[in-house]
Symmetry: C2
Subunit: 347 residues, 2 copies
């Protein structure tokens, strides 16, 4: 089969190299892996043969023999907004430094729904798993924990799990953002929540409430609208809030995407931002600086979250005894142009 020869021109094995350089393939293996006890002339001879034949190692086989793949898996819900992209950037960069490769899995896959899908990854192909923003992690978290498989959660403070996790100070971020509005003179501040089954959404709501009560501002239930982190719920929320008998002078959304949805509504109603109504978001996704007016928001260190998560995971890989840590990275209020002093419109 001459076709075979063409197609598999890369099928040069360690054995071919051994033959070409007149040594045993054990020695070739030693050269490949940079082991010390090889005579320099031998090493040179082998190297030459490798170059000449165009040998590249078969990682599949290496992994099998060695029992480790140097691949870690990243489970994400989606890649739509750039939010996840930032996190992945951090993960990827850190993996690169450690010489690992990245396998990406999106949970909206049909396959991901099968309970044993994760199990089959874990068995062989992937040495560890970073779970980014897992929506219903119950599905696989059980398997992972029971198998004692290295994994770490990013941005999920579910209370139900004992897995290591990296989050941010959601409560504090929401508190500071709310306080920022209060300091600007607002006292009728609306809040759009996220999906309330997520820990981070709960924390943000709590931070908002805490700031209000700290400043002796009454909580008005009508001003709290339950959203779902998608733009449409921001639209719905703004419409509902602006229809109130006494509409808010400021809206704090649990993420930037919903904030942008709200901004849209506000503009369509002929109101000005921030003159008529102030808006604050959460996340600081890339486009938040690009919308008009640039959005005041709470910055999450997304890239760093990915980075830290990866470091934790790699540490667990090195030393399985590593304690399950939970870390919170600091959020930061970024004041841009969507907020300003409260002006009594009647005045």
């Amino acid at each position: 089969m001459p076709r075979d020869e063409i197609q598999v021109s890369g099928r040069v094995t360690i054995f071919d190299v051994a033959e070409a350089s007149g040594v045993s393939y054990g020695t070739v293996s030693r050269v490949i892996n940079n082991e010390p006890h090889v005579r320099e002339t031998t090493r040179k001879r082998v190297m030459d043969a490798i170059d000449r034949l165009g040998f590249v190692i078969n990682r599949q086989a290496q992994s099998l023999a060695r029992g480790q793949t140097h691949v870690i898996g990243v489970l994400v819900p989606d890649l739509g907004t750039g939010y996840i992209g930032e996190i992945i950037r951090g993960i990827d960069d850190e993996l690169d430094h450690a010489g690992f490769d990245l396998m990406l899995f999106t949970t909206h896959r049909r396959a991901a729904k099968e309970s044993n899908y994760v199990a089959s990854l874990v068995q062989g192909v992937v040495e560890g798993l970073v779970l980014v923003l897992p929506r219903n992690p119950a599905d696989y978290l059980g398997v992972l924990s029971s198998r004692n498989f290295p994994h770490v959660l990013v941005d999920h403070q579910g209370v139900d799990t004992t897995s290591p996790a990296i989050g941010t100070t959601n409560w504090q971020g929401a508190f500071l953002a709310t306080e920022h509005l209060i300091n600007l003179g607002h006292n009728h501040i609306a809040f759009i929540t996220g999906t309330m089954d997520l820990g981070c959404a709960q924390d943000r709501l709590d931070g908002y409430k805490a700031a209000l009560s700290m400043h002796h501002i009454p909580q008005i239930p009508e001003l709290i609208f339950e959203g779902d982190f998608f733009q449409n719920s921001g639209v719905a929320a703004a419409n509902a809030l602006l229809d109130l008998a006494v509409p808010p002078s400021a809206i704090f959304a649990s993420n930037d995407v919903m904030a942008m949805g709200a901004m849209d509504v506000i503009r369509h109603r002929g109101l000005r931002i921030p003159d008529d109504i102030s808006i604050v978001g959460f996340d600081d996704i890339p486009q938040s600086a690009m919308v008009f007016p640039p959005l005041t928001t709470v910055r999450q260190p997304l890239e760093q979250m990915g980075r830290v998560a990866t470091q934790v995971l790699l540490a667990m890989l090195k030393n399985p005894e590593t304690k399950n840590s939970r870390q919170e990275l600091p959020t930061q209020l970024v004041v841009r142009s969507s907020t300003c002093n409260y002006k009594d419109r009647a005045g």
Copy 2:
């Protein structure tokens, strides 16, 4: 080592299953792979053992033995804007249907710079490669072609390559967008180019020029500004263009991100969009509908590009004889609110 037992609780092999169910492991293999010639009772017995022991197959070993991994690699420059994210969504979805997994590689990795990095992937771990927006593909395209390794380019119409590629009708998109402005009465239309070593950037420029000459509008060199697809170059371009003795009444940017940079500048100078100046972008990234005013732009079917690229790749995998195809998917003008009729400001 009792610790070993805990950690490797997943280390149940096909052999263990065979022993537990009293058959040879050849039979177990048959059951796993759903091969027909197995007696129903035997199958049942094996299945039971599999469940009982919690056996999951080791894909690493399976891949080695079978000679195929069912993993394809996706090479991307970055994940910042959601542009790439859309493409990946298409790729991932299509791979899912075909039962393949996705390995993600970012070309900004240090490792990616090493010439043999791609080679080492190609040898063993990955069965095919989707190259998204490769900036300087010369580095690895050579190896891929010479090894006859299945790969497909997305959104790169470099003329220098014979690899299969999926692109869009950049020329036509740019032509239609320019014509849209002309039809609105603009005849002093500026153009911000992309990185000119990319085929798509060249095509867009050509489309712009073609529309002008078609409508007998003179090309004015000062109105063509060379950008690089990043926001900052949109800012620089807008500043330069607005400082012209006779500034343009409309700006067409080669992508949305640069268009948004330009919008920023325009607003900072106290000009209104589109009343004072119309803006058109290219790509239709998600946030284009969300900025203010919503951006008129040329839509690229990003997800579909990923989808089609993947289909082509999978077809090549099935049948290596498949001819190297180059496809162009249609772009589409999306008119939103950043463009309007030309109004003579002096009038």
